[in-house]
């Protein structure tokens, strides 16, 4: 498993480098802006551009890493490079397990890195300019849109991030299953792409439906976020076993 994991990280490191590179560029622009100060025209422009850019990178960077792992799985099943993987003495549960683990770890680590970077930048802004009322208000309004009784603090942000991350992991595992069904069961069949896409949409909707079903109306924010994350993680586990079974019994590369 250790070796499989090592090569899964190797296969996706370019995608991560791209995200890292863009983040570094935006962060440098932000730091220059902070150093120049908001009373300086260039400084204000740099802060004004880099802050929303960093927020976007944090959201889409994590998404991009998940999508990249689906692309790698697709390549491993549909190109000759898949021989490198499937001729090794490892079973489908191990092969797919390494992919799930790599994706999960990458998502958690990148989300944690973005969270820490965000905290550092907010602290820096606060210590440099002393007031963050606008930013704070914006965050508050965003959270209030999700839950009227929510209190804005670090814990709330962490819970929200955890729930979003788990849901994204669930979506990526549904994409894994849809791709495996497409490559193993529908390969060469008419409307393969359309059928597997509809399958993906259906299973994603099912996960959302289950999350809503278990999130009762009176539930507080913490419980609701935990339920949402729990359902997504359990759903990912089901997707993993189902995917590995299909891979083991039906996949030809």
């Amino acid at each position: 498993m250790k070796q499989l994991l090592k090569y899964e990280f190797r296969k996706t490191w370019i995608a991560k480098l791209i995200v890292l590179g863009i983040t570094a560029a935006a962060e440098i622009a932000f730091l220059i802006g902070v150093a120049l100060g908001d009373d300086n025209k260039t400084g204000a422009a740099l802060i004004g551009t880099s802050v929303p850019l960093l927020v976007m990178i944090a959201l889409f960077g994590v998404m991009f890493i998940g999508i990249q792992s689906v692309v790698v799985l697709h390549r491993d099943m549909n190109t000759k490079q898949g021989y490198m993987l499937y001729m090794t003495p490892r079973n489908s549960y191990q092969i797919l397990g390494a992919k799930f683990l790599e994706n999960g770890l990458s998502l958690v680590l990148s989300a944690a890195a973005f969270f820490l970077l965000g905290m550092l930048d907010v602290t820096l802004l606060f210590s440099r300019f002393g007031q963050l009322d606008q930013l704070w208000e914006m965050g508050k309004r965003m959270l209030e849109a999700l839950n009227a009784e929510v209190e804005l603090n670090t814990g709330t942000f962490l819970l929200l991030a955890l729930s979003m991350l788990a849901s994204w992991l669930g979506t990526v595992s549904v994409a894994y299953l849809a791709d495996i069904v497409s490559s193993a069961l529908l390969n060469g069949k008419k409307c393969n792409g359309l059928v597997s896409f509809l399958f993906f949409v259906l299973l994603s909707a099912l996960m959302g439906w289950l999350q809503n079903l278990l999130r009762t109306p009176g539930m507080d924010f913490t419980a609701a976020m935990l339920v949402q994350a729990g359902v997504a993680v359990a759903y990912s586990a089901v997707m993993y076993f189902l995917s590995a079974y299909i891979m083991d019994h039906y996949l030809s590369v």
Binding site: K6, Y83, Y86, M87, P89, N91, S252, V253
Partner: protein, 232 residues
């Protein structure tokens, strides 16, 4: 050692391998022969565990093809299959990471014999160099079965001599070698048994020495007899 019963693989309506039943034994070098599209590659991929049969069974030492057989069977595909980021050196380390029977020293020796270096990027290799690299990786394993699909494809005469020498060095009583090639005369110098396949069906498995003695025909002539009307 390698046994299949009624092995069939279909792609849509085409039967690439059609009810093949045979047993391949250790201590022999088999030449798997047949024109393009006769099912040789598909059969090998099923034996390597890369492809699932549509029906029938294939087993290695009595157990179905799977994780255990993949640790004992060294398969070389005819197509290049390296990851784009690999060099000859990292491809060797990849094999070392996954195959307990892989020897890095033997691999380096084979690379040297084939005039390849570890820093060569796999994506920039010519077809002949890529073929030599695949052979070096496969033969650096101390496997029980070696399956080489078209090992001489795109390789010049001198390199073919090198490869033939390397392959023959692996011909031992406890090992099974299975090679497919269109170069029938070339194969006659290596193999002692031949598997003739046509349209996915097994025509026959023959001991070449016995065939020469009883039928008075060489492998090449037998090939002409079986496939002459197909290819001619």
């Amino acid at each position: 050692m390698l046994k299949c019963e009624n092995l069939t693989k279909t792609f849509g309506s085409k039967r690439a391998v059609d009810g093949v039943t045979m047993t391949l034994e250790p201590g022999h070098v088999y030449a798997m022969l047949g024109p393009n599209g006769s099912g040789k590659t598909t059969w090998m991929k099923m034996a390597a565990g890369l492809m699932k049969p549509t029906s029938g069974d294939i087993s290695f030492q009595g157990s179905p093809i799977g994780v255990e057989s993949r640790s004992r069977i060294a398969y070389m595909s005819t197509e290049p299959y390296f990851y784009a980021w690999m060099t000859a050196g990292s491809a060797g380390r990849y094999y070392q990471d996954f195959f307990a029977d892989f020897s890095m020293d033997r691999y380096r020796e084979l690379l040297r014999q084939m005039d390849l270096t570890e820093d060569l990027k796999t994506k920039s290799l010519s077809s002949g160099m890529a073929a030599k690299l695949k052979i070096a990786l496969t033969l650096a394993r101390d496997a029980q079965v070696y399956m080489l699909d078209e090992p001489f494809n795109g390789i010049d005469l001198l390199a073919r001599d090198q490869i033939r020498t390397c392959i023959l060095a692996e011909a031992k009583p406890e090992k099974l070698l299975l090679l497919s090639s269109h170069l029938v005369e070339e194969m006659e110098a290596i193999a002692d048994r031949a598997v003739f396949i046509r349209d996915g069906r097994l025509v026959e498995v023959r001991d070449l020495e016995e065939m020469r003695e009883t039928d008075g025909v060489s492998m090449a002539n037998r090939y002409r007899e079986i496939y002459g009307h197909v290819e001619g």
